[in-house]
Amino acid sequence: MSVIGKYFIFLGSLFGKGEKLSVYWRRFMEESVGIGVSSIFIVAIVSTFIGAVSCIQTAYNLVSPIIPVSTVALIVRDMQILELAPTITCIVLAGKVGSNIASELGTMRITEQIDALEVMGINSSSYLVLPKVLAAMFTFPMLVILAAFLGIFGGYLAGTLTGVITERDYLYGIRDSFVPYNLFFMCVKPFVFGFLIATISSYQGFFTQGGALEVGRSSTQAVTNSCISILIADYLLAQLLL
């Protein structure tokens, strides 16, 4: 309980007396590049292959003369939009971004860089963490949209190249029974997950004590806790919004 209390006090400190807006804007842009742009490659690889695999496996399980082949594409689309793109992408990002944030802040803590900021009278948590949180909440939904698109495209490639579904059936399937609300749901998830990953990882890194070993531990703890929180939040969001 004390850890949860400390986490919320830490969140409160992010919105304490801050610095000039221009400083935050510059930091936000830097973090958006570091967190968002540098994650495009890994997100693209993971989502394309997940889309491809989900297409082939769905087709493998739907061998029935009464189910139209285009249903494969419909399932791939809904799996991507509702679950795979937002949740799996964010779990991958928890590993990449979460560990990076925790180790960066942990190293800054043990090398007294955070102390140096505090001595200057700078709100260190707000200066260091708030731009990361905002950048994650801003870039994660965009990465997830990209992941959903590439996932569906990956399914198309795998389906048509292996011959389990024709191009025409696939294009028909992804447009069949489309519910636009699902796109909204898809974008809400990474917004929440981005907040959780950035704040939990920052918390772990910010309060690191010791040396290199503890920085490694904080990093591992950040990824573990972020993944658990994503799964819990995923369930709660599904209950609340669907």
């Binding site: 007396k17 610095e19 000039k20 400083v23 190293t107 800054m108 090398t111 007294e112 860089q113 102390d115 140096a116 505090e118 001595v119 200057m120 009278g121 700078i122």
Partner: protein
């Protein structure tokens, strides 16, 4: 001038500082010495506001740091420059950006004025032409110099140095010591240095405090330190065989 009054601090019931009182004078290099684990760093951190003491006051030119409002504390903080043990340079910024950082964050002066001030500070510490290099590309001694440049860029009234010689070769140590002393006298700064380096004590120490197990056992001038009757201090000073032999030789003479 900085006054500390009855500073005490305990961690998990263990007393690390047991009521330290002292005065650090303006324009002089004030040294806090003692062995490892005697509370030197904790005392420094209580003075600069990183660790809140359990009791006691820290007064900066009469202004009580811990009993002031936020604005006053902030204004006192902006009069401080701190050189951390490892330099505490921001890894993601160049040398120039590190030195300019306090100006960017805490002032509204123009870019040209900032550039001029940064160049002056880098020149003052003998690092002209290194502004574009990253902290990972410079030596330990250079990092300390950059740390000093960053500490003085805001024209501080108070300069704190946490073991400025740690990890440096003897020649670089002497240069860093001399630089700190020069800056202290030139700008009439109140400088507080933590060290367990006897060379620094003899070379630049003017007022010296000796801490032992969280207590202040001795306070005095550099010239008196070798003639004390405090056994713990003598043990600390003459731990080095060369100094021990020199002292014996002096006594024989």
């Amino acid at each position: 001038m900085i006054e500390i009054k009855d500073i005490a601090k305990a961690f998990n019931g263990k007393e690390v500082l047991k009521g330290i009182t002292s005065t650090f004078r303006e324009g002089e290099t004030n040294l806090i010495i003692g062995g490892s684990g005697t509370g030197k760093s904790v005392l420094l951190k209580t003075m600069i506001g990183l660790i809140k003491p359990d009791r006691g006051n820290v007064l900066y030119s009469g202004r009580d740091f811990y009993n002031s409002d936020k604005d006053m504390r902030q204004s006192i903080r902006r009069e401080m420059g701190v050189l951390f043990q490892g330099g505490a340079l921001f890894d993601s910024q160049t040398v120039e950006e590190n030195v300019r950082f306090p100006l960017d964050m805490l002032t509204d002066i123009s870019a040209a004025e900032k550039k001029e001030r940064v160049e002056f500070c880098l020149q003052r510490v003998g690092l002209e032409g290194t502004g574009k290099r990253m902290p990972s590309e410079i030596s330990g001694g250079m990092k300390k110099r950059v740390g000093i440049a960053r500490a003085i860029v805001m024209n501080p009234k108070y300069l704190f140095c946490d073991e400025p010689n740690s990890g440096l070769d003897p020649l670089t140590s002497v240069k860093i010591d001399e630089l700190i002393k020069e800056i202290t006298e030139e700008y009439k700064i109140t400088t507080v240095i933590i060290t367990h380096d006897m060379n620094s004590v003899m070379e630049i120490g003017q007022n010296i405090i000796f801490l032992y197990q969280g207590d202040k056992l001795w306070e005095g001038l550099n010239s008196d330190i070798t003639n004390t009757k405090v056994p713990e201090l003598n043990e600390f000073i003459f731990a080095n065989k060369l100094l021990r032999d020199a002292a014996k030789e002096n006594q024989n003479k």
